[in-house]
């Protein structure tokens, strides 16, 4: 039975169909359907991967190992929630005149394409194809960011596309170098550019070339993954995009770029047999975490704050992987998942708040949003609690896992730094959110929201999942994660 192909094509098809169907409701239903399908297929893939190790299709053009399967699940869940959320969201936007129906269609066409691109990234066996797919996700999301066609969103989109394209050009350079290294090894025939092949010959690749390749790939994909100091587009794009897109960008897109980066990391480590690439991940991961904190602390814009929080989490994931013990990598992957469940909820809630208060500035949103949007704020509060790493939510556990793994590996300094950075951003987010969510409305404020339940199903789904998986990780999932961690960290 084909698994990977339908995963790839279901959203593609849905996106193209959206060009045809007339109503917004149908478009949104198509998106939900597509991603529900991929989620189901992803679960099937999980079992396949557990059973067979690596699943390949199209004569190894597509291949999925545990890591890919994990990413497929994340993409599916977040995209599903986004599609669920987007219908109501755009109904209100349209009603308010913020977007034209044409733009809404653009969203419903591009989002599945965006998703399909991400699926291709994680399923492509070929590094070049992977690059192309990342570029495709970037391009589709740029248009999504610019959807509102406001000055700020155009500015954000411009920065996103320029920095992203530049980064991807550099990543392409890295890819070229890898290819060169591979072909040098095998001068006579057209070498395979497949991941499986590269890994098999990793030990014989030119280390210098690979180092150079990794530097370019690191800067390139790192830009896309939002590692500081290449992250500068991230808060702009996240804050100006429509909230569903912000959720996708933050929830999975960053991690997809990280996935691409990780592939290079794995390869480099396998080739060099040293911690060369690890130091990069470590340094930049920590730097991202530390850079995020001050920005959160004095942030004035809700979604920008959330974006910086994503920066911090990406940094943490990088650091966790860079600590390079099975435990920390496991923790980092787990963290990726939990973050993917928690962060979209925050962006969805921010979207609701934006539509109700017509601003994202804390100053304008003012205290007492809870009085206007009780359900949204409750869910947002829970998600925020999760995001700042408090139990009972899993992010606490994944953070603790990373920390304990780090200490067990006697990486005390790094662990302490991680902890400090986490504490700093905790303080920032808590202070900022408490300022707006709690309290009473200012007198004379008439912001109220008749449709209090908009977006709640999507948020509840993600939060429910988060809570569920915080206390209960199904054995197959656990196994998958361990395998994925093994793929990343099987070498020193």
């Amino acid at each position: 039975m084909l698994l990977l192909t339908p995963i790839l094509f279901a959203p593609l098809l849905a996106g193209l169909l959206c060009l045809l169907v007339p109503s917004r409701r149908a478009m949104s239903a198509l998106g939900v359907l597509a991603f529900a399908t991929t989620l189901g297929l992803g679960i099937a893939l999980l079992y396949q991967v557990l059973a067979r190790g690596v699943v390949t299709e199209w004569s190894e053009f597509l291949s999925a190992d545990a890591l890919s399967a994990w990413m497929v699940l994340l993409i599916s869940v977040v995209s599903l929630a986004t599609s669920l959320y987007a219908g109501r969201y755009f109904r209100r936007d349209e009603a308010a005149g913020a977007v034209t129906p044409g733009r809404v269609r653009e969203f419903f066409v591009l989002t599945p394409l965006f998703g399909a691109g991400m699926f291709l990234v994680v399923l492509a066996n070929n590094l070049g194809v992977m690059w192309a797919a990342v570029e495709a996700t970037a391009l589709s999301s740029v248009l999504l960011v610019a959807l509102y066609n406001r000055r700020n969103s155009l500015e954000a989109a411009w920065k996103y596309v320029i920095l992203g394209s530049l980064g991807l050009a550099l990543a392409l350079m890295g890819t070229v170098f890898v290819y060169a290294a591979a072909s040098k090894n095998n001068p006579q025939s057209l070498p395979s550019f497949n991941w499986s092949y590269l890994m098999s010959v990793a030990g014989r690749l030119d280390p210098h070339l690979l180092k150079l390749a990794f530097v370019f790939a690191f800067i390139g994909y790192g830009t896309k993954a939002g590692l500081a100091p290449m992250h500068t587009w991230l808060p702009d794009a996240h804050s100006e995009a429509p909230s569903p897109t912000s959720a996708m960008l933050s929830g999975v897109s960053l991690k997809i770029a990280l996935y691409a980066l990780l592939r290079f990391h794995i390869l480099t480590t396998a080739c060099l047999d040293s911690g060369f690439s690890r130091y990069f991940l470590l340094g930049f991961g920590l730097f991202s975490m530390f850079l995020a904190a001050p920005f959160i602390l004095v942030q004035r814009n809700l979604k920008r704050m959330l974006a910086y929080s994503s920066l911090e989490h990406v940094g943490l994931i990088c650091t966790g992987i860079a600590l390079n013990t099975p435990v920390t990598i496991f923790g980092a992957l787990l963290h990726m998942g939990y973050h993917a469940l928690a962060k979209p909820v925050l962006f969805f809630a921010a979207g609701n708040i934006h539509q109700t208060c017509h601003s994202l500035e804390f100053r304008v949103i003012g205290p007492g949003v809870g009085k206007v949007l009780p359900v949204t704020v409750l869910l947002m509060g829970l998600a925020a609690i999760a995001a700042i790493g408090l139990p009972p939510f899993g992010l606490f556990l994944s953070e603790m896992t990373i920390l304990s793994g780090g200490l067990a590996a006697h990486q005390t300094t790094v662990s302490v730094l991680i902890l400090v950075a986490l504490l700093a951003s905790f303080c920032g987010i808590l202070q900022q959110l408490a300022r707006i969510l709690l309290g009473a409305r200012k007198p004379g404020d008439h912001a109220n929201d008749a449709r209090r339940l908009d977006g709640v199903p999507a948020m509840a789904m993600l939060l429910g999942g988060l809570l569920l998986f915080s206390v209960w990780l199904p054995a197959p999932l656990l196994e998958l994660l361990h395998q994925a961690a093994g793929i990343i960290g099987s070498q020193p």
């Binding site: 070049g128 391009l139 954000a156 530049l166 072909s183």
Partner: protein, 223 residues
């Protein structure tokens, strides 16, 4: 012509063309007229297509011909045409003062060239054809990057980005005996094409919204 002599000639030609690419790049750094820049980019792309063709011819690799052809169609004809149209539509012909003046820019480009060569030194042995093409490719990348920083108009930034892309392609052609696999090449090609179109759309919309193409005015999003 014996094979080695042919190789020699090809190699010389490729080196020459690569050097010319670099020269074009420097010219772009130094001047300000938008249309000239577009033309220079077209020339640079043409040189790249030439190199690709030479490589294809030399290695008898048919798929590299495709690359050469695509470069010719895409970067030499289609993109310059597209950008030309855009320039006419948005009625802006001249780049405003760059951040750094021409002499300083040239100096920096010189430094970057040096860096490119230094970086490429360990890998010269890998080049089948041409001398130091990799160094030039890296230099193209770096100076293109610098060009992006130095220029403030949205369109010139796009052009600079495309020269970076050229550098990458040059490296791809120069380093690998047969270029990249076709599917990858195609992917890259279409991506670049779409990217430029997306950029074009954005430039157009920015022009509409901001009545300017000065990217230094795109600084509302802070903190």
């Amino acid at each position: 012509m014996n094979p080695s002599a042919a190789t020699e000639i090809s190699s010389q030609a490729i080196t020459l063309m690569a050097t010319l690419m670099l020269l074009v790049q420097l010219l772009m750094t130094a001047q300000r007229m938008l249309l000239t820049s577009i033309r220079l980019f077209a020339i640079q792309s043409l040189l790249l297509a030439g190199i690709a063709a030479l490589v294809a011819y030399h290695h008898n690799a048919s798929h590299v011909y495709v690359v050469a052809g695509l470069t010719l169609i895409g970067k030499v004809i289609f993109l310059p045409w597209l950008l030309n149209r855009l320039v006419h539509r948005i009625q802006i012909h001249q780049e405003i003062e760059p951040l750094l003046n021409a002499p300083t820019s040239m100096l920096i480009c010189g430094g970057l060239t040096l860096l490119g060569y230094v970086l490429a030194r360990p890998f010269t042995s890998m080049e089948r054809l041409g001398n130091n093409t990799l160094g030039i490719a890296l230099t193209l990348l770096l100076t293109g990057f610098f060009l992006m920083i130095n220029r403030r108009k949205a369109l010139t930034q796009v052009l600079a980005l495309l020269t970076v892309e050229n550098g990458v392609m040059l490296a791809a052609v120069a380093l690998t005996s047969y270029g990249m696999p076709l599917v990858v090449e195609l992917g890259i090609f279409f991506d670049v094409l779409v990217a430029v179109m997306v950029l074009g759309i954005l430039v157009y919309r920015i022009r509409e919204s901001f009545a300017s193409m000065d990217t230094s005015k795109l600084n509302q999003l802070k903190g």
